[in-house]
Amino acid sequence: MTNVTFYERVEDALNNEQLHVALNRTTARLGGLRTTAFASLPEAEAVRDRARMIRAHTISKLADYLEQFAANLEQCGGYVHFAADAAEANQIVLALAKQYQVKTVVKGKSMVSEEMHLNHEFEHLGITVWESDLGERIVQEAGEMPSHIIAPAIHYTREQVGDLLHKKLNIPLSHDPAVIVGHVREKLRQEFLVADMGITGVNFAVAETGTIALVENEGNGRLTSTAPRVHVALMGIERIVPTLDDLSVVLQVLARSATGQKLSVYTNLLTGPRRSPEADGPEALHVVIVDNGRSKVLGTELAEILYCIRCGACLNACPVYQQIGGHAYGSVYPGPVGAVLTPGLKGIEPWADLPHASSLCGACKEVCPVRIDIPRMLLKLREEGHEKGLAPAWVKMGLPVYRFVATKPALFKWAIKLSGMGARLLASAQGKGGWLTKLPPPLSGWTQHRDFPPFAAKSFSQQFKEMSE
């Protein structure tokens, strides 16, 4: 994270007209597609319940399933590496690059690689990395981080994308997505052919078979995992499902939640590297299983966030994300899921603002395919921040006073009267018919965007009493 504060990033985002156009277009489109897709799934709610049960069960027995997955993958000729944190994961991947004398890498989409800032590590070693997912490629060429977990370049309009890629990739200028994709594809073909190593993420790892499932729409994942000599797959420790049957359940809700598809265009099931007499596939498959803070929340009130299947639906549905986009969060994972994951896995400091970037409207929980109770965990993290004294001073000092007053009925009534008098005094100076148009700090936040109505001349208690007499 840079020195820029959350509030400054938010201000930049809110003032960015183009960002608004882009976010409005795509979040609305994805949200609509999701609704339609679930409408066509028979017993959709029951499937979501099952998906949730599978995730809950897996996380409750995570160590066992990881062990089973690792054993089965090795049985199929794959290699398994465990990394405690991002630094260790980088060491493993860079050592592999050295071992296989890698000069160029082609990459599919992987959020874990973003956690590792892997591209930078490669660049330091003079190894060229080509992102092959179109969205990832756009942010790579722009020198940015993804701003959405499934639509990395959601913050760009197609016009901006056309201009950027024209400049960076030296392709003919166009603002037609189909034309742009055509040109990029030609570039990518060359890259797939020469790359020494392919790096991908993992959507799910199946414990009973040692299979990794890779879900994508562009075919780049398939090529990345099969064309180069070596395939390195990066996954978080929680990305496991026990069986192929379980996989079929979570896949049913993943594509629908993410893009409104019944199934993504490519669902790659990879079980080990190429075996003779097979003609395709990499010579070696390495799976790097990364913890990077995840095991810290196991067994805590935040463990539920590990059920996440990274569909991105909560981002699209979130009215805060819709306004500020992903970069404002300042974290690898943005949106509601990021506001739990980031402080949960990396510690509340310096991320204490993120759990507060929510009106607790519950839209995230409503759309989450595995019904993760994100608002509950945002509150839990707010509690942790509050306990650690990370709240603003006026909140820290104000709430105990409020509590003192609100547990003493007579004092409470008196305080309301006093507030009313104060408000009337202020309002009379402002001359807006009793409405307050400017409140002093810390309440000035309210009057930045809205007026405050007059207090009642007679409280409800008084009116009720008079009526009853």
Binding site: V10, E11, L14, P319, V320, Q323, I324, H356, A357, S358, S359, L360, C361, G362, A363, K365, E366, L379, R382, E383, G385, H386, E387, A391, P392, V395, L399, P400, Y402, R403, A406, T407, P409, F412, I416, G420, W435, T437, P442, L443, G445, W446, Q448, H449, R450, D451, F452, P453, P454, F455, A456, K458, S459, F460, S461, Q462, Q463, F464, K465, M467
Partner: protein
Amino acid sequence: MAQSSSHHSAKPAEKPKSVQLFVTCMIEAIRPEVGMAVVRVLKRLGVQIEFPTDQTCCGQPAFNAGAVPDARAMARHTLDVLSRSASPIVTPSGSCADMLVHQYPALLAGDAHYGPLAEQIAARTYEFSQFLVDVLGVTEADLAQTQGHESVTYHPSCHLSRGLKVTEAPSQLLAATGVETHALNGANECCGFGGLFAVKMSDISGAMLNRKLDNIEASGAKIVVGCDVSCLLHMGGGLHRRGSAITTKHIAEIIS
């Protein structure tokens, strides 16, 4: 009238003769006319009102700030106040009802005295529109004498619809009054209130509010109706800032 979904497993066997009114701090201080409208409606429907005068605030501001000990203290106070009578509790606020129904039991789960008490109170707490439709089974005939109002649009507040899952009752009540109702684009989107969120994250909240207000203005309605005074204050404050002629009313004011 068809029943909306509800958290209450057991509905009272008989229609309650009397209810306790938990009026909320917002109505106490700023919009008492909403409380009076609630009283009129309930009385007309033959329900007596108990009003425990030592009630204060449910504690949501502290709870949402993560100040759990403060929230617990306010929850204990409210439970003391509401447990003296066995009557159901009615509150004209979706979010305060949700606080009592869902958050109190969780907040006080480890407390030998207040934990069970929170469960008991949760089981007999209702949001106003929910109580009318689900418990009293209000019919169109009951609302026939409703005065004519200007056209309305309904904003389903988040804790009412997603927390309590009360999604049908308010619209049913509005339909029964025959008031001209305009559809609201993006109705289910939050108005941006969120308690202290509107103060601490004022700019994000303001952007959410503006989107909501654009939709409200585009609806063509003269009045925004809701079941949460706090959200109505937020939207009303934004409308006032815009110089809009659209006003906000609690649903009780429409049917009283």
